[in-house]
């Protein structure tokens, strides 16, 4: 029997499986029908009923919502009057404002759709959700819906930051982030199997990004103390995580090749920190600049290493959506930089990065539209875990 546990092969100590096989496609564990499966057919069926497709959907799909919501925020920022009146903002201002509202609404609808699908999954496949919470890659994506909601909140054209509804919504979205923080960061240094050195992987930066997005939203609202609190949470754990990821202990090689696009999260974390500190200190001071430059350096460093991503680019998968969000956040930071430091170079940088992020997002949307089959969940990567747990216990 060859259990189909997807790409979480090499060093996953949580799964006491002795046999493993190479997945033919792996995103966060989606396998194609060509892999052999001899398990309980209720969980996996090659044909797949509609219900099973709905419930096989996992948190990695929230990458789509992250990408779209950050795009909405980018467009809103570019259209701001404080952005320097150069070519880019000229173009941006010619686009009628209803296009922004449309984009925001599309992002909102996508997010609501994904959330409802995930709720269905929670109700019907709770065991798998629990398994997902326990997995070192999957657990980080549980931050993704809340991050998307916060981004939408910041980019909404309907609410003002000082309004009561805004604050209520902020609380509603930040409390889950803090709760997840307590759980996951607590694991990092207390629970034996989930020590940071064992579970650290580039997706862990999503936890940091969650804190920083909450901090930025709070700063925009005027709640300075909450903003600084969430910022300090985020930046401290970022420090620890950055060092750990760079050291690359043997145990941290547990990221499958298909998930290499998440390396772009290295770019997203310092950019988000730069934006958050910019909102807190209300000027793009030297720390913001340093964080932005670090992010820029990491971007150049990753872009000049195409070999790293070659394997993951062979086939379209949900992991490709991981490219969009970090690029958008980098473009946002470049915009904030250009707003503060006026000059040719910052504006060129802002232009290039914004165009890149828009192009990448549009390309991903086109790919998704044409290759929907590749991106739909064929299989629940976390299903086998619950089964194996039952078998082994």
């Amino acid at each position: 029997m060859a259990p189909n546990h997807g790409p979480f092969t090499k060093t996953n100590h949580q799964i006491p499986i002795s046999t493993r096989h190479q997945p033919t496609i792996s995103t966060t564990g989606v396998s194609t029908g060509t892999s052999t499966r001899t398990r309980d057919s209720n969980i996996v069926s090659a044909s797949g009923t509609d219900l099973s497709i709905l419930t096989q959907f996992h948190a990695g799909y929230f990458r789509i919502s992250l990408a779209l919501c950050s795009q909405a925020l980018l467009w809103k920022t570019l259209a701001e009057p404080t952005t320097d009146a150069h070519a880019l903002s000229g173009i941006v201002r010619t686009i009628p404002s209803f296009a922004f509202i449309l984009l925001w609404l599309i992002a909102l609808l996508t997010l609501l759709l994904l959330c409802s699908l995930y709720m269905i999954r929670c109700f019907l496949r709770f065991r798998n959700v629990r398994a997902e919470l326990a997995h070192h890659v999957g657990m980080n994506y549980l931050f993704a819906p809340w991050i998307s909601f916060l981004l939408l909140l910041q980019s909404t054209p309907f609410l003002r930051p000082s309004s009561q509804l805004y604050r209520v919504l902020w609380c509603a979205f930040s409390v889950p982030i803090i709760a997840l923080d307590v759980k996951i960061y607590g694991h990092w240094f207390t629970q034996g199997k989930k020590f940071l050195s064992m579970v650290a992987n580039p997706t862990s930066q999503i936890t940091v990004i969650g804190n920083l997005v909450g901090a930025r939203a709070a700063a925009k609202m005027g709640w300075r103390e909450s903003a600084v609190c969430m910022f300090s949470l985020g930046i401290t754990h970022y420090l620890v995580l950055f060092v750990t990821l760079y050291q690359r202990f043997l145990g941290s090689d547990s990221l499958p090749a298909m998930l290499r696009p998440v390396f772009f999260l290295f770019i997203a974390a310092p950019s988000m920190a730069s934006l958050a500190w910019d909102s807190i200190s209300s000027s793009f001071d030297i720390s913001c600049k340093m964080l932005f430059f670090l992010s820029l350096f990491l971007f150049v460093s990753l872009v000049t290493r195409p070999a790293l991503f070659k394997r993951s680019m062979r086939r379209f998968s949900i992991a490709w959506w991981a490219y969009s969000f970090p690029l958008t956040v980098l473009a946002l930071a470049a915009t904030a930089y250009a707003q503060d430091v006026k000059g040719v170079m910052p504006n060129v940088l802002m232009l290039v990065l914004s165009v890149l992020s828009v192009v990448v997002t549009i390309a991903l949307m086109v790919f998704t539209a044409f290759k929907t089959h590749d991106i739909l969940p064929h299989d629940d990567p976390f299903a086998c875990y619950s089964i194996v747990r039952h078998i082994s216990t």
Partner: protein, 584 residues
Amino acid sequence: MEKNELQVETPSVLKQSSCQNIRGFDCVDCENGNDHSRLGNATSDKESKKESVASSENTKLDGQDIVISIPPMTSLSAFSLSLPSSPSGLHIGQTKLVVQQEKCRNTNQNNPANLNPQVARQKQFRSQPILVAEGTKRKLVRSETMRDSRFDPFKTWLGKLERQISNLRGMPTEEEDLEAGETKRHETEEAPGVDRYFDALEGPELDTLRATEVSVLPEDEKWPFLLRFPVNAFGMCLGVSSQAILWKTLDTSPVMSFLHISPMPNLILWWASLVLMVFVSFLYLLKIVFYFEAVKREYHHPVRANFFFAPWIACLFLSLGVPPSIAANLQPIIWYILMAPLFLFELKIYGQWMSGGQRRLSKVANPSNQLSIIGNFIGALLGANMGLKEGPIFFFAVGLAHYMVLFVTLYQRLPTNATLPKELHPVFFLFVAPPSVACMAWAKIQGDFDHGAKILYFIALFLYMSLAVRVNFFRGFRFSLSWWAYTFPMTGASIATIKYTMAVTNIFTRSLSLCLCAISTLTISTLLVYTIIHAFVLRDLFPNDISIAITKKKPKFSKMLAHFRSSSSDRKDIDSSISKGLEI
């Protein structure tokens, strides 16, 4: 693989000497040699030949002169037989065997070869010492007319040109030589993986060959000068140019004006460092041109790779220390030109830390990595001096982030990290350099010596003190050229102290800066004396650079090598070294 391992152990030596000159190799045990040939003739099979060789080796193990004959498989002419000086009939027999061997290799058939008598005659004189066995004191008498091609694998295409020239000059047997060289070059095209460096080398600078390893180049001879010229030589430029900056600071700071330093020391030191830099760069450029393989191996060495930052840092030092009489303000374009290669190197090295499989930081981290970090801070300092705004902040940010990572890693002294020396070594002084130059860069970027700069300065001072009180533990290390690179941090700390004194002026800080300047000047002068002594009196300033001559694969006969490497013939030593070789 057999083929490869045998290949690497046999550099080919072409010589025209008669066998009688090769004492202990060709002439001793002529009977065994005859047995060789007979055995070989009977089967003309590679495996049996090896068996016969092995058996002959076993018989020779009892204290006789040690001959190891391991025929390499690819080079046509490079094989070893115990060739007795005997009547030509036997020679023909030997060469028939030889040519048969080659034919077997080439065509997988056992056809007797058509003997080219000239080839045969040349082949019989060709023998090669494969290993440097301490037991034998082999004196190779190389004929003047034969070119030494042992170092060919390390030469670039210019080496081929050299060969053509020697062809034209009429030196014999170049075709086989060419082929041998070609195959060897092919074999050495890729540098050894990083694991090989860790397996084969030891020592705080990874420059000593382990007892069970073999060098691909002969160890008992002095290699060509360029092959012995390491990239660490740029450390000298670092040391001297940092002194120039120190004396410039002493001259221009108002707080130290009580010393009444003239601009002369700065001028002299700056010119000296400029000349030295040009000289060293020229020599290293020659090495790149003539021995590119050696440069490639140095680049892949986990410790030496960091010294490739040293030329650019030295140029930055030169720009920082330029005497006011020569150029008051430098053009910003110089900054861009100097920082561009630094940036590209950084992309490579830091990217490897983040995502490169073999060269993860937890494995390769060593104190010399701080050389790469220092480049960022020095660049930021120079840019801020020139008045640039964003560029210095960029490099400072990148340097700071990676310094944090490296500092934590080095402080952790992870068990997976093999390169940190257990005992103190001058390389530890490199710990002082990043915080001191970072503090100066930050002070310049911010405009004044604020809290951030003070924090960095105190960290540098603390590290300096904790090493200075342990100076007794730095004894007993062999002097090497890289020590220059380890002493420039002292100068950096002195300059940082002077800047601190400018911000916080009292008797204590003044005396501290005076003290540190004196220490650094004294250290540099001592180093200079040592260098001159080693260069001209002892003549061992540039020893054979073993760390670039490691084999690409672990030698299979390591237990045999372990035996031969041990200088005593004591059984126990042999056994222990054999067992050590087996373990590794």
